[in-house]
């Protein structure tokens, strides 16, 4: 990349101030003219989108937990509660959704077991060892725009490319839908649109960036949970923010994707999370697959030599 490029731009998604309004999802769809991806009640708290996909470039996750949030007093400990529903609900969701993923998610929620009829024995609803805590986490997920982007690396057509802003985009006029980028992405972001054949993902609103405008999601975000800016500035701001939250008693605040030494060389879109990444559906320690490609190429070459040698040996041996 030449020197006159603009600085690398990025997203800092601070989930601690996310209110789960989903403005980002809608603003993204409006700007990028993304089709809706089906109506189904997923039962994942207020998340009826499911996950990122070809038709979802911003996805707000909702997580209900029987855990405290910093010094927040949710009063649950003083209420006459029974057992938490979070695990059972997640179980029901999982059962209903089965193995569906990506763009399939929008279609159906699957078979749900009908409940027992009334009149049966009533379990005691309130127990002394009932749930004591409650927090509701929300987080807007997006393409990470990795420093070392596997999707970009493996794309055989040059459809995926890194822009002058350091972001990763799909050129829709080039993509031939080979699908290689889909399993290459360590975050499960990019996906193929079935009826279209091509793959789609967040472009960080590349067209808007070229005109000096901020991406649609960041612009809409009511609480500035999604912050757009020069990546270096955002990283600095994020580090400060974590300190600030730790001060405030939110000791579980941590950054995800902000470390330039991580497996993808640092993400262009990074996050402040309040729990382990996997709780939000993120991989805990993603690695760009092409980091290992040179070694794999060596093995491939060695294997090829082996193949040739085997055949040669077979003929040489058979001649005797």
């Amino acid at each position: 990349m030449s020197d006159d490029n603009p600085p690398r731009m990025g997203f800092f998604t601070d989930t601690s101030v996310c209110i789960g309004c989903k403005a980002c999802e809608v603003a993204c769809k409006e700007w990028n003219a993304i089709p809706d991806d089906g109506l189904s009640l997923l039962g994942m708290s207020y998340d009826n989108t499911g996950m990122l996909g070809a038709d979802t470039w911003r996805h707000v996750a909702f997580i209900e937990q029987d855990k405290p949030l910093g010094r927040q007093n949710n009063a649950v400990i003083a209420m006459p509660t029974g057992a938490t529903a979070t695990h059972a609900s997640a179980e029901a969701v999982h059962e209903g959704l089965g193995q569906k993923h990506g763009s399939e998610l929008g279609t159906e929620t699957g078979a749900i077991r009908p409940g027992p009829l009334p009149g049966g024995p009533m379990p005691a609803p309130v127990t002394p060892d009932g749930r004591k805590e409650l927090r509701w986490l929300m987080a807007s997920d997006v393409c990470k725009h990795c420093t070392h982007a596997a999707c970009l690396d493996v794309c055989p057509t040059g459809s995926l490319l890194r822009t002058e802003f350091g972001t990763v985009i799909v050129q829709e006029d080039i993509c031939n839908g080979c699908g290689y980028c889909v399993p290459a992405c360590p975050y499960g972001v990019i996906d193929q649109r079935k009826d279209d054949g091509r793959v789609w993902k967040c472009t960080m609103c590349y067209d808007r960036l070229t005109a000096g405008q901020e991406p649609a999601c960041a612009k809409a975000c009511p609480t500035d949970s999604i912050q757009y800016g020069v990546l270096d500035d955002l990283r600095e701001r994020a580090a400060h923010r974590v300190e600030n939250l730790h001060d405030a008693g939110v000791l579980e605040a941590r950054l995800y994707g902000a470390d330039p030494d991580d497996g993808v060389g640092g993400a262009g879109a990074f996050f402040l999370l309040l729990d382990e990444p996997e709780v939000y559906g993120f991989p805990p320690d993603p690695v760009v697959t092409t980091r290992d490609l040179p070694r794999t190429w060596k093995h491939t070459a060695l294997a090829a030599v082996g193949v040739a040698a085997t055949v040669a040996a077979a003929f040489l041996g058979a001649r005797r």
Binding site: M44, G50, M51, A61, I63, P68, L69, G70, R71, Q72, N73, H94, G102, R135, D153, V154, P156, T157, S159, I174, C175, N176, C178, G179, Y180, V182, P183, A184, C185, P186, Y187, G188, I190, N244, L245, D247, G249, V250, L251, D261, D262, E278, V279, G281, P284, D285, T289, D292, W297, T300, A303, A304, G306, V307, A308, V311, A313, A314, F315, G317
Partner: protein
């Protein structure tokens, strides 16, 4: 603690003081409870995930197209090598069958690849760039070189039926083309291993060390088996050797994968993938045994049976690995558990990611 947090903001006669942007709001800070309990994480007994949803996207590839493409590529590469050997050693029958096999498999594998594209009409976009970082790009260029060579070599087998003017040209190019193809042929058999290893799919990526060998060996087993089954027992000796050697190495690689991958290897022995791989194992073993027997008895029937079993074994193996990969991508635990261990370990040792 920021100044505004300490003192609160003020509205003075000259305006606002002590303001801070809303994004600095300290969530839950003033609830009056003991801090940090959300941070005291007891390591959960089970791995955690977002409603059991997959972290990764499973491949969008059709197993018939892409597993078929891997398999056919293997057959093509192996057959081209066998054809060259047969050509050089004067095994005319073997040469004919392997040259035909090479061109047919190449054509079909390309067809499968193109068929699987979301936009088949844009196949040619593959030739816009050459990216060493993309095994599919490298593979496409290899195949693009390989396909005309095996095509010419195959035409050489049908030289009598060609129109007059091109006949001498093909006759002259047949052998050089066939031999030139051997430069690319080994790579044709192994690059697909690199292709799937170069993804985030846990089974594939973790097996990246073995997969090129496994795929190369599988290619040898399939092409050797196919050649043995389609040529005269008298000429089939090298094919049998190739087939048996491929089968043995494939089995060894498969075993190594299972052993080295630990829990991530689970999908290889479960469900559809497990069934395919069990079938592959037995089929390959049977094929190798039958061909070995035929090497002693020179039986056409044994060659056909053993060769077919090896071909089937190779196809099952590709399907098995394909489906196991898809399962490992869909089930979040294969992504989360190893990464969580790695992250925890790194955190403990203080090493960076």
């Amino acid at each position: 603690m920021s100044a505004s947090e300490q003192h609160g903001s003020e509205v003075r006669r000259d305006g606002l003081h002590g303001t801070a942007p809303g994004r600095e709001a300290r969530i839950g800070a003033r609830g009056g409870r003991k801090a940090g309990r959300g941070g005291e994480m007891v390591p959960p007994a089970e791995f955690r995930s977002y409603y059991g949803r997959s972290v990764l996207k499973a491949p969008v590839w059709e197993s018939r197209d892409i597993a078929g493409y891997f398999f056919l590529g293997g057959v093509a590469g192996g057959s081209a090598l066998l054809a060259a050997g047969a050509d050089l050693t004067g095994r005319i029958g073997l040469r004919r069958s392997t040259r035909v096999a090479a061109v047919a498999a190449t054509g079909l594998s390309l067809a499968a690849l193109i068929h699987d594209l979301g936009r088949p009409g844009r196949f040619v976009h593959m030739l816009r760039v050459l990216k060493p970082s993309s095994p599919m790009s490298v593979g496409t260029w290899i195949l693009s070189g390989f396909a005309p060579l095996v095509a010419v070599a195959a035409l050489d087998e049908a030289r009598e039926r060609l129109p007059g003017p091109v006949r001498p040209m093909i006759a002259a190019l047949g052998r050089p083309s066939g031999l030139a193809a051997t430069v690319l042929a080994p790579a044709v058999t192994t690059y697909t291993g690199a292709l799937i290893a170069d993804t985030a799919v846990p089974v594939w990526h973790d097996a990246r060390r073995e997969l090129p060998y496994l795929f190369g060996a599988s290619a040898l087993a399939a092409s050797g088996g196919l050649a043995a089954a389609t040529s005269a027992p008298g000429e089939a000796a090298p094919a049998r050797v190739v087939g048996i050697a491929g089968a043995l190495v494939e089995q060894a690689c498969d075993r190594a994968v299972h052993k080295r991958l630990g829990m991530v290897a689970e999908p290889l022995s479960q469900g559809r993938a497990g069934r395919y791989l069990t079938a592959a194992r037995w089929s390959t073993r049977a094929g190798a045994a039958l061909l070995a027997l035929s090497a002693l008895r020179r039986s056409r029937a044994l060659d056909i049976a053993g060769g077919t079993a090896l071909v089937a074994g190779s196809l099952f193996a590709r399907l098995g690995y394909f489906h196991a990969g898809a399962t490992s991508a869909t089930e979040p635990r294969y992504t989360v558990v190893p990464q969580r261990e790695r992250a925890d370990h790194a955190a403990k040792t203080g090493a960076g990611g």
